[in-house]
Symmetry: C2
Subunit: 233 residues, 2 copies
Amino acid sequence: MSPTPEERRAARHQFGTVASPPTARRGPSRGSKQPITVDAIIDTAFGIVAREGYDALTMRRLATALETGSSSLYAHVVNKEDLDELLIGRLCAEIDLPEPDPGAWREQIVGVCAQLRDQYLRYPGISQAAFAAAPSNLDTLRLSEGMLAILLAGDIAPQTAAWAIDALTLYVNAYCLEASLENRRPGRDEILRRFAALPDTFPQTKRYAAELTSGTGHDRFDFTVRLMIDGLV
Amino acid sequence: MSPTPEERRAARHQFGTVASPPTARRGPSRGSKQPITVDAIIDTAFGIVAREGYDALTMRRLATALETGSSSLYAHVVNKEDLDELLIGRLCAEIDLPEPDPGAWREQIVGVCAQLRDQYLRYPGISQAAFAAAPSNLDTLRLSEGMLAILLAGDIAPQTAAWAIDALTLYVNAYCLEASLENRRPGRDEILRRFAALPDTFPQTKRYAAELTSGTGHDRFDFTVRLMIDGLV
DNA sequence: GTATTAATACGAGCGGCGTTCGTATGATGC
DNA sequence: GCATCATACGAACGCCGCTCGTATTAATAC
């Protein structure tokens, strides 16, 4: 009996893949349609999120894209939450972790955060899933292990390093989640107009409306990440 | 004609309440049941979230608690998103903003962040709604106005102050969102056990497992907020 | 060569969600 | 007394995640 989805999930949290013997395929494979695999599910899911955003990723929608029924997915994935974890896992797995260089730890950490940010932004809204992702997933642990190694090489105290990693990843998640919601909001011009129309009980907001609404590109992101990193010993 | 929910929402974003004349109540009011009002809806919603968490707050569930049908809510609230905004608005409205004291701006900002955190934590998961909340809501603007005033009094450059407020509120949101998901996760003991069972490709994680899983109470929160604030000029 | 068995696939259906629509209710102004 | 109109609400629509019973297929055992 090949591993159930539950067993696969457990393996992702506990040990490296048990390398279950690739049991020869059985079961129906009507016509030219290729069989459903976990990888195919993940690939298709990423496609949907990239094109239509995370909210469009439903089990039914995903099944339709795979030309099957939603119930078929549950033979490969425990539930939606499990699918989310698989997506976040793959995302983290693709982060390039540099060999720690004691003289360049700040740039290295900034680089990792930027990579993570760009991965999230490629798949709008997926950071929602990142918040729920369990901290014991092997792929996400690989990421924190790499960040920890960089900070330790930079002579940061272990406790400080651990909390800094938490703070940084939490901020990256939040920044990307907010960024993915930005299209639902009024544009900068509209906000400036509303700020100008505010009553005089909002003097600072009116006066510094430009500063409050500025931050094109990733200026705000860079500002905050640097703020945190420069504060480390 | 008394204001439609849409008009009420617009008022929250544009101008102070237009103080629509409190038209005497009309319509059915069968038996002793008191009429549905926006305030009653908000109060009941907070009760549900406080007791059962944000995910339990559905329009149907809310309507049931008010002893009515879900469709009745739409006479007072535009939609679920609007309800979320009302909740976040009230939450922000209850934050106590101190008179800016140039000599105590750090403590003042920390205090405001801690208040915000405690408000969010009182209603588990509600920070999900905070992410989506539009930045032009009057109650949330009052909060950022107050924080801006504190930072400016501390001689922080306007642009730095604006971005710092963004970073701080984003972090508070993220921290509280993660905190509300914590009960779904394995406890600290279980995580330590898993870390110990990791392969040797995770040397730092294994060695500093204690540091990585520490941070009872709000230690991690305090660490990060101080990290950001101390980095300001 | 045939029967057995395990793996896979999937349609139908359950309960719940946000939201809309048509209609009923009843206090108010004339 | 009657028309008006804010208010209230049941029924239904199209989604959602998920489960269950069953059908299909390929490897295996005899």
